[in-house]
């Protein structure tokens, strides 16, 4: 017995197994849900949500335990996995988003009569995939993480199997997602080819040739305008921009957002987007850092296009989920602007820009889930309530949800003193610090159309008569989720200091670019 224990201990301490604990917890609980779901009566199905919640909490505890390892930048499994503040920060966002979406899902699934354990298990598996996307320091780990996340989302998007729109969106999401994954895999294969031709000049054993350090060294040692590097750059960036729904690759987003079950819409728009951004940042700041001047223009162009199309297409939408899809495209534009500022290579601009990106992604999670949470609260038998007219007279039917809706909309638009404003402030500040005054001006101007369409939602909730729509029944889980979302949105705006410190803690520095 004791030698088994010893083997386990050495796996945990020396083999890097301890670094996997957050992911292992989630996998364990997901499998537990799949097993116990079989034994549960139909009315006891909420137990699955409880199990999923427990899994998230245990995973969060393990994440917290890793903080000392993270400060030294621990890596394991032949350096194919790293645990650094960057991973802890994004892992935290994923776990918070998962917990909130679980809280919002329980009643939704009961009303839709699709209350199955697989839903929660797939959510936990998706979280595992996202964590591997961020902690992976190896092309294969990153790609497998991405696919685990994506496949879980294809199924979750089509989880309302009797609903036509849900089926349609799942098929669209699957086809376009597979397409973008193929483009990304092609880029990774070129990167692997670059890494395989290099020799390792440093001391110590050479990591596997898919390791990011090896590939970064290979990219660095090539003559500057190198077509193969550019080819890899363009394919990898396109593949990932597809996942974050930036503009030339955004077509899937409105349809998928509209068709998917509303909690999953919130989850896709927050967690999947954040994870893809994290992976994009990890690659841009390591492998592609030597060629940053090449991708700076590319990212800036995509950012401008996303801001333009996202904001103007949102104006004419009458479906809230579609409207929020286009608005999330414009938010992607802002985050990309932050990356542009960070890429100019000055220390100050880099710090402000990356801080802004991290802060923006963090509060974006809360604002967006919040906006969808109000739609979820209004759902009732036979009505998804995702049309603007379904919001009519919300201030009479449920004053509390009308107030929180107002807060989320103001924050999404970027009105002080709410969280969204601070995020935009840091990104625009970074743009000015690095001399991109025109981009900063453009970013500031696009707040005007954003205000218009966010206020259309507010207007329906506050100024229109309710008609004969009943008052929504808000469950305890929904109340907890809404208050937490509302609290963070307000707190991060009024007193941003701890949140900014968290964002600063998470910064990932390219080699030769120290933070101290």
């Amino acid at each position: 017995m004791s030698h088994i224990f010893n083997a386990f201990r050495s796996f945990m301490t020396q083999g890097g197994g301890g670094l996997l604990l957050p992911e292992m917890m989630l996998v364990l609980f997901a499998m537990g849900i799949l097993l116990t779901d079989y034994l549960l009566e139909a009315r006891d199905k909420y137990f699955n949500a409880l199990m999923a919640m427990l899994g998230v909490i245990f995973s969060a505890i393990c994440l917290w335990q890793l903080r000392y390892a993270a400060e030294q930048g621990a890596s394991g499994f032949s350096s194919s996995l790293v645990v650094d503040p960057f991973f802890l920060f994004f892992g935290l966002i994923f776990l918070i988003a998962t917990a909130l979406v679980i809280l919002l899902s329980v009643r939704y699934l009961q009303v839709e009569d699709e209350n199955h354990g697989e839903y929660y298990a797939l959510m936990l598996f998706a979280t595992v995939g996202m964590m591997f996307m961020v902690s992976g320091y190896d092309l294969i780990v990153q790609f497998l993480g991405l696919e685990t996340m994506a496949i879980s989302f294809y199924v979750l998007a089509g989880f309302l199997r009797r609903d036509r729109r849900s089926n349609e969106c799942a098929v669209k999401y699957l086809l376009l997602g597979a397409f973008s994954s193929a483009i990304l895999a092609y880029g990774f294969s070129i990167l692997y080819g670059l890494g395989a031709t290099t020799s390792w000049p440093f001391n110590g054993p050479m990591p596997p040739r898919t390791n990011l350090d090896v590939i970064q060294f290979a990219v660095e040692s090539r003559a500057h305008p190198d077509l193969l590097v550019l080819l890899a750059l363009v394919t990898v960036i396109s593949g990932l921009l597809f996942k974050v729904a930036a503009v030339p690759f955004h077509q899937w987003a409105p349809d998928v957002y509209e068709g998917a079950p509303t909690p999953i819409t919130a989850y896709i728009s927050v967690a999947s987007k954040t994870a893809s951004f994290a992976l994009l940042l990890r690659l841009l700041l390591t492998v592609f850092w030597p060629v940053r001047l090449d991708w700076q223009m590319l990212v800036a162009g995509v950012a401008i296009a996303s801001l333009t199309i996202g904001n103007f297409a949102a104006i004419t939408q009458t479906n809230i989920k579609r409207l929020l899809a286009y608005s999330s495209i414009s938010h992607v534009g802002y985050v990309l602007l932050g990356i542009v500022a960070a890429s100019s290579g000055q220390r100050l601009g880099f710090m402000t820009g990356m801080k802004g990106v991290a802060f923006y992604l963090f509060v974006y999670a809360f604002m967006t889930i919040g906006a969808f949470a109000v739609v979820i609260v209004l759902q009732r038998q036979g009505l998804i309530s995702d049309e603007l007219d379904d919001l009519n007279g919300l201030h009479r039917r449920s004053p509390a949800s009308a107030v929180v809706l107002l807060i989320f909309m103001l924050s999404l638009a970027g009105i002080p003193p709410l969280a969204g404003f601070i995020g935009k402030y840091y990104i625009l500040l970074a743009l000015i610090q690095t001399g991109h005054n025109w981009l900063a001006l453009l970013g500031a101007l696009y707040i005007v159309p954003a205000l218009y369409y966010y206020f259309r939602i507010v207007m329906h909730a506050w100024l229109y008569e309710p008609g004969n729509a009943p008052s929504p029944v808000i469950t305890v889980g929904q109340k907890v989720a809404l208050s937490a979302l509302c609290f963070v949105t307000v707190a991060a705006g009024i007193y941003p200091e701890p949140f900014v410190r968290l964002a600063t803690y998470s910064l990932l520095f390219p080699t030769g670019f120290s933070g101290h």
Binding site: F125, S152, V155, G158, G193, P208, L231
Partner: protein, 168 residues
């Protein structure tokens, strides 16, 4: 010399049958040409001394996946597919884009190739048996991706069951 003859034989066979797969109207014929294409590729792997890839290709693709294909073909009605339009109406646009993309890739590889030194080919007898090599690498350097892949497959399996089953 013999090596080259074998290579070109399998390569030409693979390309011709791949073209036949998409141009045949009858789905069953397409499936049979697909088997030929996959087996010809397996032949190329064997000629390159990649025994592991060869056996994986035969067992997985020519064996497992083909059975899946034939099952699907049995489920769809053949008469309908015989009368359907075989190609998308915008095929000329697709062809144009494919040609442009192909040209771009060819140029990129041709220009960048100078920086990609092709290693000296090892004499065939010196090669270690590739199955052992794959196994050793899979359970040492790449043990983490190996484990994540198992999660990925589990997710795909659950997903297929959720989507396909009438009552979960």
């Amino acid at each position: 010399m013999l090596d080259q003859i074998v290579f070109y034989f399998f390569a030409v066979l693979a390309v011709i049958s791949a073209v036949m797969v998409v141009t045949r109207r009858n789905v069953v014929q397409s499936a049979i040409f697909l088997i030929t294409a996959l087996l010809a590729t397996a032949g190329i792997f064997l000629q390159l001394h990649a025994e592991f890839l060869f056996i994986v290709q035969v067992i997985l693709y020519a064996g497992g996946i083909m059975v899946l294909f034939v099952f699907v073909i049995m489920l769809v009605s053949l008469d309908v597919s015989l009368n359907q339009v075989q190609f998308n109406r915008q095929w000329w646009l697709g062809l144009l884009l494919a040609l442009v993309l192909g040209a771009q890739l060819t140029i990129a590889v041709a220009v960048g190739r100078a920086g990609l030194p092709l290693g000296e080919p090892a004499p065939a007898k010196m090669l270690e048996p590739s199955t052992q090599l794959v196994g050793r690498v899979l359970f040492s350097e790449y043990v983490l991706p190996f484990e994540i892949a198992s999660i990925l497959l589990l997710v795909a399996m659950i997903g297929a069951v959720v989507m396909a089953k009438k009552k979960i």
